[in-house]
Structures are given as C-alpha cells and as structure tokens.
C-alpha cells in the first residue's frame, strides 16, 4: 500500500459530484444508477461526475477527455475542492483532500497543486509580473523575492519584455502563458489544466502545446490535463481517461485507446485520428512464428508505427519486436502499410 502510494501522485476513488438540492441523498439509492436525463427529470439534480476512479503516477501527464458537458471541468475542480465533491476521496501527494480543513486545503493549493484555466482568469488590474506572483503573494512571500521569482517564470514561458504589461494588452496566447507562469510560480508538484488552449487560435494552440511539451520535458511535473480535442490528448497524454455523461468510459494509453476503443463512443472519437501517429508496434504485431526471419530491425513495442515505418519498409525483413530481450512479436510490411496507407481498422 505504501509502495503503491509512492507511485501515485494522485489517487481518485469513487468520486461523485451531483449538482442540486439534497444531492447527497441520492448516492447509494437506485436513483444514482439512472442516466443523467432521467435523474434530472426525477430529482432536478445533475450528476456531473459519477463514480470516477483513477490514479496518476508522478511525472505522468494524465489527460481527461470528453465532449462538452461530460463533466471534465467539474472533475478537475473536485480535485482541489474548488467544487465540493458529493462523495468519494481524492488523495493528493499522500494527503486526503476530501477531509482536509480549509486551512490545510489552502496550504495544499499554495504549495502542491496549481491550475491553468480555459479563460485565463488573470487579474486585469495587475501587471504580468504581479499576476504571476499572485500565488506567492497570498502565501506571504516578500515583494522583492516574489517579483524575482515571477521574473524567472516570465522568462521561462517566453514573455520577457512584457512583465509590466497589463493582461488586456496581450494576445490570448500570451495571456495563457501568463496563466501558465502563474501556475508554475508556486513550484507545485501537480499541475491541473482545464482546456487551457481551447480559446486560442489553432496555430497558437499548437505553439502552446509544444510549449507544454517543452516545459514538461524540462520540469517533469505531474499533470492532469483536460481537453475535448483528441489530437491534443494524444499529443500530450501519457494516459487518457475518456468521460461521457460524468462516467469513465475508458482509461488507457493513447495507443490502447486507438487500438482498442471500449465502445462505439470512443470509436467514434478516434475514427479521425491518423492512426500511424498513435499506434505502437505492440498493436500491429503478430506473434512470432518459427519461420520468421530474424534479420530484420529490432524495435521496442512502444515505438509508434510512423517512426518504425521507414526502417521497416526499407528492410527486406520484417521488424522484430523485442521487449526486455525477448521477442514478443513480428511486424511485416503489410501490417505497417495497413496502418499508414489504408488507415483501416486493425483486427483486434
């Protein structure tokens, strides 16, 4: 258990959030089993998050994805009790959030978790540095000290020269960089993102995604990242949780999700994805047979198909997929081509 806890930056168990009067009376009754529409009909309450459980490992980027209204924002706010969960537990960095006192909770927010918001949520009456320094300010860091720290972060997110601008003088992308810097200023162990780039133009969005990838490589934070954009999820996520109507539909690595969608909802989601960018060899290989040539290139099962394609196709021999020194599968040209060219469904 303690070892498991070591591996978990965040653990969520049976989390519920039902909006409405006397919402806490619903859980445990048959009503809780109802779909969202029926529940609303019968009780007037909305079940935004229903019995969600998952864990996030340190340094992992965990993506939560779902259509608008599926409960993502509610879920991520329950993690730090910006929204009070109706039931369930959240353990963050080894501490039970759900039972923490106000003061304890504030302390956690000040030191352990930070959040980046879709609509930035900057203070319009403060300059960029003072926005970035806000978290330090509320926990009582001295002015010179917090300004120096804020300046470092302004530099880190590439806003050098704008530290004395006001938010409304910046473009959307730049404002979100401020939001990012503000979240990082507390040096949190965990970062939460709620659709941080949805309000941005596509080009800027891509920049910002790259920025996150860069920072993640540099800082190695644990992150929970909300998005409704599958490409973003696939690009950033180590693992993805797919939500529908408040419930978990599937949790898995990007490749798992693309390769083995749990149901039609997920399949629909992933149908447009360029599979070669996501699928790993693990999902296209077949079991080795004694007759297979052993001269082809050797690769890890986690290699993405697209990366493997050139080497695989240029070799006359099929690729050998080797995990921990053991041959676990074979990928021949056909398998690659099926993914890259035809983009058709992979036999499970």
């Amino acid at each position: 258990m303690t070892e498991a806890a070591q591996d978990q930056a965040l653990r969520v168990d049976g989390l519920w959030k039902i909006f409405g009067a006397r919402a806490d009376k619903i859980i445990g009754t048959p009503d809780a089993e109802l779909g969202r529409a029926e529940l609303k009909e019968r009780t007037g309450c909305v079940a935004a998050v229903k019995d969600v459980s998952f864990t996030v490992a340190p340094g992992e980027v965990f993506v939560v994805m779902g259509l608008s209204g599926s409960g993502k924002s509610t879920l991520v706010r329950c993690l730090t009790r910006l929204i009070e969960p109706t039931a369930g537990t959240v353990v963050l960095d080894g501490q039970d959030i759900t039972s923490a006192s106000e003061a304890r909770l504030r302390d956690l927010r000040r030191h352990k978790v930070s959040m980046v918001f879709q609509h930035f949520g900057l203070l319009p009456h403060r300059q960029v540095v003072d926005n970035v320094a806000y978290g330090l300010e509320v926990r009582g860091v001295k002015k010179t000290e917090r300004r120096a720290r804020a300046q470092e972060l302004v530099d880190l997110v590439g806003l050098t020269g704008y530290e004395h601008s006001y938010p409304d003088q910046l473009s959307g992308g730049m404002q979100q960089r401020v939001g990012l810097a503000r979240a990082l200023a507390n040096d949190p162990a965990i970062l939460l993102f709620d659709e941080p780039f949805s309000a941005l133009d596509p080009l800027i969005r891509r920049d910002m995604q790259d920025e996150v990838v860069r920072l993640q490589a540099e800082l190695q934070k644990t992150a929970v990242f909300i998005t409704h954009d599958l490409n973003e999820a696939l690009k950033l996520g180590d693992r993805i949780l797919i939500m529908r109507d408040g419930e978990v539909v599937q949790v898995g690595t990007p490749a798992e999700i693309v390769a083995q969608p749990a149901d039609a909802y997920v399949r629909d989601f992933v149908s447009d994805v360029p599979r070669s960018h996501v699928l790993t060899l693990e999902y296209v290989m077949r079991p080795p047979e004694p007759t297979d040539s052993l001269e082809g290139p050797v690769m890890d099962p986690d290699v993405v198909v697209r990366q493997a394609a050139r080497a695989a196709l240029s070799s006359a021999h099929p690729v050998q997929v080797v995990r921990d020194g053991e041959l676990v599968g074979i990928v021949d040209d056909d398998a690659i081509l099926r993914v890259v060219v035809a983009e058709e469904s992979v036999p499970a």
Binding site: R106, G121, L122, P124, H125, V138, Y166, D168, Q169, S171
Partner: protein, 688 residues
C-alpha cells in the same frame, strides 16, 4: 476582462422584424375587450363600493399604527433601542458639527470657521485635481465660487458637510452589505426587496418619527439621508462584485487565497470602477435629500429653498437662487465622481515617469492649497465670502421672470388646467377610482395578465390585496390615475424632445445641460410658480411630476434613438423614406426597448413625486402622507399611505418590466432590462 478577445460585431443591422406568431386573439384586442367590459361595469356600479374615505377620516388600521407610535414615544426613555440609536445619532451630529466648525460655522471664539472660503477652494481644488484632473479642479473651484457668489457660501458648505458625512456612512454600511450580497445569493434575494422599499418609501412618512430617535438637525438629516442614499451604492457595488469574472475568482482561489484576500485583492479592485459609479449615484441621492432634511432643521441649502413654501410668491426668486446653488453643487459632484471613476484605471496604470510628474504636480498644488488655507485663516475678507450682490440680482431677475410669466399666461394656464382635467383626468378617475373596487381590481389584474403574463398578474394581485388592506383604496386609485396621466405626458414630451435631440447634435448639446439641471433642481423651487399658474389641484401635481420625470425619460429616448445603427438609417433613407417615415417606422420602433425603459423610469419618477403633489392639491395618497407628517393623530394614515405608494410602485414597475421583457426578442435589450432592474429604482436627482 480580455480586450484582445474578439468581440462579436457591435450592432449588426437588425433584420426586418419577422412577423411574430401570436395566439389567435391579438393582445390589443384583449385589452380593448377588458376596457369595454370595465367601462360597462363601471357605469353600472358608478360610485358604489369605491371605499372612499374623507380627507380627514381614518380607520382602525390607521389608528392602530398611530397608537403604536404613541407607545414608542411613551417608552422612549427606557427603551434600549432608543438609547443605542441616541449614541449613534450623537456620533452623526458630532461629525457634522466638527466639520461645520471647519468650513461653515464660526469656530468660537474665532469670528469665522477654521478654514475660510479661500482655503476651502484650495483644498477642494486640490482634491479634484488628485482624483479627477486639471479640468475638474478648475470646474470645482468655479462651482464653489459660484455658490459663494450666489450668497450661499455657508449654507452650501453645510450641505456639502451633511452630504459628505452621509455618503461616508453610506459607504461604511453599503460596501460590507454589497460584499455580502455579492458573495451570497441568499443575502442578495433577502436584501434586494428591502432596498426597493427604502428607495420608494416616501421619506415624509418617517421624517417625523425619525426625529424621535435621532433628534433634530444634522443627526436626523444624516439618518434619513443614509436610508435614502445607501441603496444605490449597495446595488451598484453588488453588481460590480457579482460581475467580477467567475474564472478569475476561481483561478485566484486555486492559488490558495483566503476569503479576505479574495475580497481585497480580487473582487474590490476589479469592481472599483463600478463601485465609484455607485458612489456617484449615492452622492447625488444624498444631495437631493438635503432639501427634504430642511424640514427637520438640517443645516444647508434646504432651508432657503423651503422658504419659498412659507414666505409665499415673493420669495420664489430667493428659493430659485438657493436651488441654483444646489444644482451647481450637484453638477460639480457628478462630474468629479464620474471623472474619478474613469480616471481610476488610467491612474492605476500610469507608468513611472507619469507617476513622478503627477506626484510633483500634486505636491506643488498641495503647497498652493496650504498657502490658501493659511491666508484664509488670517484675513477676514479671505475667510468670510464677500457679499457681492450677485445672488440678489439673480433672485430679483428670477422673481421678475416668474411674476411676468404668471401674470401673462394666467388665463391660458387656467384654460389648460380646466380642459385637461375635464377631458383626461376626470373620465379616467371615474373609471379607475369611482368604479366599485372589485371591478377596478379585476380589470387591473386582467390588464397585468395580458401585458405581463402570469407572474406580473400575481405581483399585481399581491399589491392590490395589500392596497385593499390599507383602507386607502380610493386614494390609491386617485393617485394611480394621476400617475398614469402624468406618465403619458412624460412620454409624449420624451418623444417630442428626445427624437430631435438624437437627430441633431446641436439640439442635444444645448438641451442636455438644461435637462441635467432640471433633474437636480429641487421641486420645491418651481412648486410655487406652478401653483400660481394653475392653482391647487391634481393638474398642478401632474405638472410638477412631469417637470421632474421628463428629463430622465427624454434622455433615455434620445439615447435609444441615437443608438439605432447608422447602417439601418442609411438603408431606410436610401429606400426613400421621408424624415417622418424614418422616425416613425425605423428609429422609434427600433428604440423600443429604450422607450419601454423610459416609460418604466417615467412611471417611477412620477410616483416619487406623489407626496409633493399632495402639497399642491394633488389629493390621494400624497395628501394622506402630508397629513400624517403634519398631524400626529394621523401618523398611522400617513404610514400606510406611504406603504401604499410602495405597493403601487412595485406593481407598475414589475408589470412594465415583464411586458417589456415579453415583447423583446433581442438579447441585448433583455440584458438592458436586467440592468434596468438592478438600478431601476436607483433614481438620481431630487425626490420626495
């Protein structure tokens, strides 16, 4: 706020009105039907069950409240509440007195106040410079000097002192309440109706009892002023706090701020501009109470204004001059606070060098102001405002002008009064007040249902039931009639004047200051000339109400018509519309939401003049309130009459709003109405 975010195009030319799908019977047909039935029923039951009560009559309900007051007086020495209030009122009085000794009352043994007029000008100029900039500093000095020239330096200072103390207390009370309401839905729902009542309840009703609690003069003046003036700042500041972006609050909370930090570092700074707007409204409301407070010996300009009422037609010029001083002060305070709200952002952002120059300028100006203060403490002529005779000249001129007007137009005005009363007021009053009460009640209920839907009808039902219980049904209906007639006049005026204002910049530029002045000129000033022209009666009350309510409605209509997109006007002109067609077919219909808002505000403003109307023969509830104020044995009647006015106000307000909301499809208009709701009762200018 994120200004870089793209906004939707400001006002896309609206598509031509799509034919709305209506029920089988159009609304107007329903209304006509109701009216016809009402007329028939009224004719059958004319004069029966009207619940008429003689002017000097009263009922058990009224007696009960009168007795309540008597008991309160009897117990005043051993009543704990009274003693607590006494302590508070000493505080108010003390604050005013201290300030008075600084600027308006001889600081004995000094033969003059601590600071003479020159010093006051210096300080006022400096403050205006600091909060509002050069232009306003000059304007402020000019305005105060004008007050002095008019001969009302000391009274003007007294008015300012009482206003400032009241506003300070309003902020002390109002801001915490606004914070509470901004953060708690329940508090919002509970307090909002209280604010409605505070603003619509005629102060005449509680003026006399308030003296029991607060004593005479400044303390009671401050107390009643606070009651009347605190709602605007609460409302507006609450809107400001509620308007603070949800995400920003959430984002900053996620960083671990305490509720106090949220308030002081996020909500208040972000709502600052709105809060200053609220301060502006509260200041204007406080100022307008200064005249009413003259009835309980408040120091200030109220006394000379009220003299017009006691000393007769010969003193109209004098009252006008005092009223003019109030207008000057009001416009000064309005401009400075408005500019302050606009500048607060700019100031907060000004960079290093700007800031440095600013501090240097302010430092130098402070020295200048200090020198003024010192000089004004030494020389009598710089302390006592010199008597220039300007005030007398103005008063004489005004007196001659009113005398000439009343002499010249007397015949015409009598004819006008008689015709209007016979043609409009009497038939309408016959229908509304002289029908059996249940006929009128049912008719009003049905009208509310057709115009405003079920919710409006329910509100109407509750209000009418309340009115029935006060035993003042007949008087309420007399008042209601006058209010309706006055509102029609107001709207006609609003269209006649507002449209040209919107179409011609020149007209606007000339008229707007006049309207501003008319809005803050105390009604008592023009009451006597209006009386001299028309004699006492309902028509005179209506004229006074129209003078008071028209400026607001005119401005609203002008703004509405002006707002009609230029593209639409261009398109209509290109299609060959005559100016008349343009006005009637394009501009007025498209400004409909503003027209509705103007009508709503017009109604409420007119209603707030009901008590003043009672002073000039308007009868109805106004007379009852004045009676209650004047004679202790009728206190109860005055009290319930005041409550009845509030009920009428709530009724007309909710029905017009509902009607307006139902008829509009455009979201922008809907939101205008919602905003109107939040500040709908937030009147500016003089009142009753």
């Amino acid at each position: 706020m994120t200004a870089t975010l793209e906004r939707p195009p400001a006002s896309a030319p609206a598509p031509p009105e799509a034919p709305r799908t209506r029920g089988p019977v159009p609304r107007w047909a329903w209304l006509l039907g109701i009216l016809a039935a009402w007329i028939v029923a009224s004719w059958i039951g004319h004069g029966k069950a009207t619940l008429y009560l003689p002017g000097q009559g009263s009922t058990d309900v009224h007696e009960w409240f009168t007795q309540l007051k008597r008991d309160l007086i009897a117990s005043r020495d051993d009543n704990l509440l009274m003693q607590a209030v006494g302590a508070v009122s000493d505080l108010f009085g003390g604050a005013v007195e201290q300030l008075q000794r600084f600027v308006s009352v001889d600081a004995y043994p000094r033969p003059v106040p601590q600071i003479g007029w020159l010093g006051v000008l210096g300080i006022a100029g400096w403050v205006a410079l600091a909060v509002a900039g050069w232009k306003h500093a000059v304007g402020t000095v000019a305005a105060l000097a004008t007050v002095g020239l008019l001969g009302y330096w000391n009274d003007g200072m007294d008015t300012l002192v009482v206003t400032f103390v009241s506003v300070a207390i309003c902020l002390l009370i109002g801001l915490p309440v606004a914070v509470l309401m901004g953060n708690s839905r329940r508090a919002y729902a509970l307090i909002t109706p209280v604010l409605d009542v505070m603003q619509t309840f005629p102060s005449f009703v509680y003026l006399a009892p308030a003296t029991l609690f607060f004593g005479l003069g400044a303390p009671v003046a401050v107390a009643v002023t606070v009651v009347y003036a605190v709602p605007p700042v609460i409302r507006v500041a609450t809107e400001g706090i509620r308007g603070v972006s949800e995400t920003t609050v959430e984002a900053t909370t996620s960083l671990g701020q305490t509720p106090w930090q949220r308030l002081t570092k996020v909500q208040l700074p972000m709502a600052r501009r709105t809060i200053i707007v609220g301060v502006n409204l509260t200041t204007m409301a406080a100022l307008s109470m200064s005249v009413i407070a003259g009835f309980v010996n408040s120091p200030g300009l109220g006394k000379p204004v009220l003299r017009a009422l006691t000393a007769g037609t010969n003193q109209v010029g004098v009252a006008f001059t005092a009223g003019l001083a109030i207008v000057v002060i009001a416009i000064m305070l309005d401009r400075v606070t408005t500019a302050a709200s606009e500048r607060s952002e700019v100031l907060a952002r000004s960079g290093g060098t700007d800031r440095r120059t600013r501090w240097i300028v302010l430092g130098v100006a402070a020295i200048a102001a200090g020198v003024c203060v010192v000089l004004s403490r030494r020389s009598l002529s710089l302390a006592d405002f010199p008597d220039t005779g300007v005030g007398d000249t103005v008063a004489d001129a005004m007196q001659r002008a009113t005398d000439w007007t009343t002499d010249t137009f007397s015949g015409l005005t009598t004819w006008l009064q008689e015709t209007t009363t016979t043609l409009f007021i009497n038939p309408l009053q016959d229908l509304i007040a002289s029908s059996p009460w249940f006929v009128t009640g049912t008719a009003l209920l049905l009208v509310a249902l057709v115009l405003g839907g079920r919710v409006a009808a329910l509100t109407t039902l509750v209000c009418l039931a309340g009115i029935r219980l006060t035993d003042l049904w007949y008087d309420a209906m007399v008042t209601f009639t006058s209010v309706l007639v006055a509102t029609v006049f107001v709207m006609v005026l609003a269209a006649l004047v507002g449209v040209p204002m919107a179409r011609r910049r020149m007209v606007d530029r000339v008229l707007r200051p006049v309207l501003d002045a008319a809005q803050v000129m105390p009604a008592f000033v023009y009451l006597i000339p209006v009386l001299a022209l028309f004699g006492p009666g309902r028509f005179t009350a209506i004229v006074a109400a129209v003078i008071y309510a028209a400026p607001v409605a005119i401005k609203l209509v002008a703004d509405g018509v002006k707002q009609v997109s230029a593209t639409t006007v261009e398109a209509a002109t290109a299609a060959g519309s005559t100016p008349w067609q343009l006005i009637t077919k394009v501009q007025l219909p498209m400004a409909r939401s503003h027209l509705v808002l103007a009508a709503n505000q017009g109604l409420l403003y007119v209603l707030s003049m009901v008590v003043i109307g009672g002073l000039v023969g308007g009868g109805g509830l106004g007379y009852d309130v004045v009676l209650g104020f004047s004679r202790s044995e009728y206190f109860g009647k005055g009290l319930v009459a005041g409550a009845t006015i509030v009920l009428l106000g709530i009724m007309v307000d909710r029905v017009t709003r509902r009607a307006a909301a139902r008829r509009t499809t455009s979201p922008s208009v809907r939101s205008a109405l919602v905003i109107g709701r939040s500040s709908g009762l937030a009147r500016r200018g003089p009142l009753v």
